[in-house]
Amino acid sequence: MALTQHDIDREVTELQDAYDKARAGGAPAAHHPPRDYAPYRSSALRHPKQPLVAVHGDPETVELSGPAFGTTDVTALDNDLTKQHHGEPLGERITVSGRLLDGRGRPVRGQLVEVWQANASGRYAHQRDDHPAPLDPNFTGVGRVLTGDDGSYSFTTIKPGAYPWRNHANAWRPAHIHFSLFGDAFTQRLVTQMYFPNDPLFPYDPILRSVTDESARQRLIATYDHDLSQPEFSLGYRWDIVLDGPSATWIEEGR
């Protein structure tokens, strides 16, 4: 029998209560989702059961450096997802801007930010997304940009739609944009999703709820910023991103 939203809600609530209780008892905050999160059914066979093995890095540790990207890796139009076809895509045009920072608040400069998303109807330009919402011939939904000297990035796109998925019966993902981010070290690598404020689907989504820490969940939600909105053109959202993990620079500075 297919799982219902009610079944998933019950599991999500149990895990949320367990986390909140642990926190009240003095446990540290969990900034990332656990890899073993039963309400997200696909995680069941795809998480390790052995603990991670700690590597105490030195400046020669390969993962404390990371790949470099440059002007040849992007074109000037790559951060405008509305200009990849002959016509204008359908939907609500938005600007998404923010800064990429390391854990000490320092800008991550000249690094690659990649995004992908569904179209305004909630359909991905991907063969495996075959739910009955229209494709948009003027929207693919892929972009990339290099961060500026202040760690800033900006994309012009359209607001993606919510879409159904098969985790359980009547499962819907809140609207989101996928982000892929590089830091100065490979350890700082991050793939995540940005959400839009006040989405009514938040409580029902086991992927967002896999982040059990409430303040951490809030860090995945962009802020509407009227100063970023452009007259007669687009609505503005601000989303700053903070990378985890050490880098060789930190070790050389004595941490």
Binding site: H47, S65, F69, D73, L101, R219, D240
Partner: protein
């Protein structure tokens, strides 16, 4: 949220949480020369390939692997140009065939198989591997060791069966080819790493 509202009293920022790469990254992240890390036609080129498996032993057809490594001279600076793009069409140009960027990215195919062609790293003899997949809420790091160096503190601290999961094995019947499988779960579960 803005960074001002995030700064904690000890001067650090709490990180943005990870999320799964999901099932639909395929038109966004992979690129045609993603696995061709070695400059074109380089005689020292090696192939590293294998399968990614889940806890039931089934191959994972929608994993994405990234590789980062030292250059043959041991340098860790990398070089731009892995994703080099065509400014005329906006499509991929491909790598320039000369520079060694140290970075590769390959999706698994329908059989859960991947392959990269690269040059042996100088210094520590391993490729760093970062694993993404639908169903994996937070990426995983591991290492593909091409050799078992004496005094490697990671390898020497592991039980033999666990250590074995980090060793890419030369395949006698293939030219300069190493096999490195990744098991996300199960009896052969790969050793995954945390950095502090």
């Amino acid at each position: 949220m803005s960074e001002q509202s995030l700064m904690e009293t000890n001067g650090t920022l709490p990180p943005t949480p990870s999320h799964t790469v999901g099932p639909f990254y395929g038109y966004a992240l992979p690129f045609p020369d993603g696995g061709e890390i070695a400059p074109a036609g380089h005689p020292d080129t090696i192939t590293v390939h294998g399968y990614v498996y889940d806890g039931a032993g089934d191959p994972i057809p929608d994993a994405l692997l990234e590789f980062w490594q030292a250059a043959p001279d041991g340098s860790l600076t990398g070089a731009p140009g892995s994703l080099r793009r065509d400014p005329v069409t906006g499509g991929y140009y491909g790598r320039n065939g000369v520079d060694f960027t140290g970075f590769g990215r390959v999706p698994t195919d329908a059989d859960g198989h991947y392959a990269v062609r690269t040059l042996p790293p100088g210094g520590a003899p391993y490729l760093s591997v970062c694993v993404f997949a639908r169903g994996l809420l937070h990426h995983l790091f591991t290492r593909a060791y091409l050799d078992e160096p004496a005094g490697d503190t990671l390898l020497s601290g592991l039980e033999p069966a666990r250590r074995e999961t980090l060793l890419a094995r030369a395949e006698a019947d293939k030219h300069r080819t190493y096999r490195f499988d990744i098991h996300l779960q199960g009896d052969k579960e790969t050793v995954f790493l945390a950095f502090d």
